[in-house]
């Protein structure tokens, strides 16, 4: 108990003194997760509206399939991406294994289903009369899509934030295809896991507090968005 209390105090000290190592790891985590969220958004928002606006065979199946992948294990993605980008793999020539880029690839794959699924439900939430009105005012198919996304912007934003939250808190992908290399691919989650196993609880706790703080901020932002 005393040890835990001591650890907490030391952790707070690490944070308020802006310990370079802690800050570097936290910064890298944020950067990687943000990049993943942005890339996934750029891919998923248009794809989600294409799925939403077109009627085709197996659409319902596709949507349930997407929803099934919400909870795909990170280690499964880690393994899958590893097979492709390891030096012996088909994309090995890219040489991105054990780089932040590799983590981004994995995280994008991880959060794509969430972003797709939640964006589709966000677009579904737009009133039909809004679409009829837009069409009657002479909007083309493309202009209708843009308007719909704009109308659902808060719900779409919530989807993006959910994706970001999943990316920053995952550990399997960062560990397996990032490699937890100090100064290169070590992120909050992998560092916590390592330091805990090494017995350096203070350092792990400090990073844990930062991660929870980020989660808290994300939650507050999301709540405010959803209240609008």
């Amino acid at each position: 108990m005393v040890e835990l209390w001591h650890g907490l105090l030391r952790a707070v000290e690490l944070i308020i003194t802006f310990d370079p190592e802690v800050m570097q790891i936290a910064g890298r985590s944020l950067r990687i997760a943000l990049t993943s969220a942005v890339i996934a958004s750029v891919i998923c928002i248009p794809v989600a509206s294409i799925i939403h606006f077109n009627e085709f065979r197996g659409k319902r199946f596709l949507v349930s399939l997407i929803q099934t992948f919400y909870s795909i294990p990170t280690v499964a993605i880690g393994l899958f991406v590893f097979v492709f980008i390891s030096s012996a793999g088909p994309l090995g020539f890219l040489g991105i294994i054990f780089t932040p880029a590799a983590i981004v690839v994995g995280q994008v794959l991880l959060i794509t289903p969430i972003l797709l699924g939640l964006t589709i439900s966000a677009l579904r939430g737009v009133d039909r009369t809004i679409l009829d009105t837009a069409r009657s005012l002479g909007a083309s198919q493309m202009q209708m899509m843009v308007l719909t996304i704009r109308e659902a912007r808060f719900a779409v934003m919530a989807a993006v934030i959910m994706g970001f939250g999943r990316a920053i808190s995952e550990v399997g992908i960062s560990l397996m295809i990032g490699g937890n290399i100090r100064g290169a691919t070590r992120v909050i989650t992998t560092a916590i896991s390592l330091e805990t196993s090494k017995g350096d609880l203070e350092f792990a706790l400090a990073l844990g507090i930062i991660l929870i703080f980020i989660a808290l901020v994300v939650n507050i932002v999301m709540n405010r968005i959803q209240q609008r």
Binding site: T129, D132, A134, R135, S136, L137, A139, Q143, L147, E151
Partner: protein, 359 residues
């Protein structure tokens, strides 16, 4: 050549016929009202005209060109029209952006958009509302935004679906004035759906009565109002006295009709023995204490069963062997002492009656 033409239009939903063989021709510049009870298919018809739905069967022509073809043709045609939907919805953005939408979608340069939007906002009395978020407006204001948004492009055809249905009386009359102004000042063809017969009469120069997906009668509002073709239309256009009877004699279109044993005179071509209904508007019936003797009039003795004030008029129900409803001014109702039990004479001109054949 008609500006808009609908040929043999059918629309179905879940195996039900919503519209049955609609044929319509509307001239350029006409103000056309589709009247009919709720659920008659008015909205469905407007949606087809705006080309946002595709008919199950039939073709639509705009300016002589068939427009029920590819999405490209439909979009082009649709951009010449505007449709104000029944439920006024605004986009989740400022009033200004709402009104600017249709112009931006047509690729109009910024400066021109600005000019047009400002002008239209002034016309609908929303100049100060430009920066307001549209979702914060009242129902009447939203409807004005919806109308501004529709006419800002200067459409050749304006479609209005129950433009005042969801509004309080004050907002409704403002909107009606606004529409009357648009009809007067802008040269555009207007097709409006309304269940309000009087609104149709006030605004339109041609009316079609749509009941259960079928157009039952088309014509001048006055004709439809005064000479409904059948009982269904008569009921809808507000004829309150519809009396069933049999033609008892007919000499050169001057007929006597037996209604429950009471004989009244009417002008009709139907032969003796034909089962008919006689339509009389309550405002065409005068109430007096003595019999009116004139050959061109029917004057029937009766007893007042009910009298109630409705604004400046009093509605009197008289039992003359059959019930009759009359509207008299409140003043004359007071002078005549029209109360329950009062013995009166109900008088109506022979020519004010409209005789229709029963099915």
């Amino acid at each position: 050549m008609a500006f808009i033409e609908m040929r043999n239009i059918w629309q179905r939903h879940d195996g039900h016929d919503i519209l049955k063989n609609i044929n319509l021709r509307i001239d350029r510049g006409a103000v056309f009202a589709l009247i009919g009870p709720t659920g008659a298919g008015k909205t469905t018809l407007l949606r087809l005209l705006d080309l946002i739905d595709t008919p199950a069967e039939g073709e639509i022509f705009l300016d002589g060109t068939k427009v029920t073809t590819t999405e490209k043709v439909r979009l082009e045609a649709r951009r010449r029209m505007a449709f104000v939907l029944q439920k006024p919805v605004v986009f989740n953005m400022s009033v200004y952006d709402n009104v600017a939408c249709a112009l931006r979608w047509r690729g109009m340069p910024r400066r021109q958009v600005h000019e047009r939007v400002e002008h239209i906002l002034e016309r609908v009395g929303l100049t100060e509302y430009g920066k307001r978020h549209a979702r914060t407006l009242s129902g009447g204001e939203m409807q004005r935004v919806a109308i501004a948004r529709a006419i800002v492009t200067g459409p050749e055809l304006l479609l209005l679906d129950e433009p005042t249905a969801n509004l309080d009386p004050v907002s409704a009359s403002r909107i009606e004035d606004l529409i009357a102004g648009i009809i007067k000042h802008d040269v555009m063809t207007v097709v409006m759906a309304t269940h309000d017969m009087l609104q149709g009469q006030r605004l339109a120069d041609r009316i079609s009565v749509l009941v259960d997906g079928e157009i039952l009668q088309t014509g001048d509002p006055r004709d439809v109002f005064n000479s409904p073709r059948n009982r269904q239309i008569a009921e809808f256009v507000g004829v309150e006295n519809i009396l069933d009877g049999v033609v008892a004699s007919n000499e050169g279109e001057m007929a006597t009709i037996d209604i429950n044993g009471t004989l009244i005179e009417a002008v009709t071509g139907y032969p003796v023995g034909e089962e008919v209904s006689v339509c009389m508007r309550p405002e065409d019936i005068t109430v007096a204490l003595s019999k009116y003797s004139s050959s061109a009039r029917n004057s029937l003795a009766g007893e007042v069963t009910w009298a109630v004030d409705t604004g400046p008029l009093t509605r009197v129900e008289i039992d003359c062997g059959f019930p009759l409803v009359a509207l008299v001014t409140r003043r004359s109702a007071e002078e005549l002492g029209l109360k329950k039990g009062r013995q009166v004479y109900a008088t109506f001109k022979v020519v004010s009656m409209h005789v229709i054949k029963r099915h």
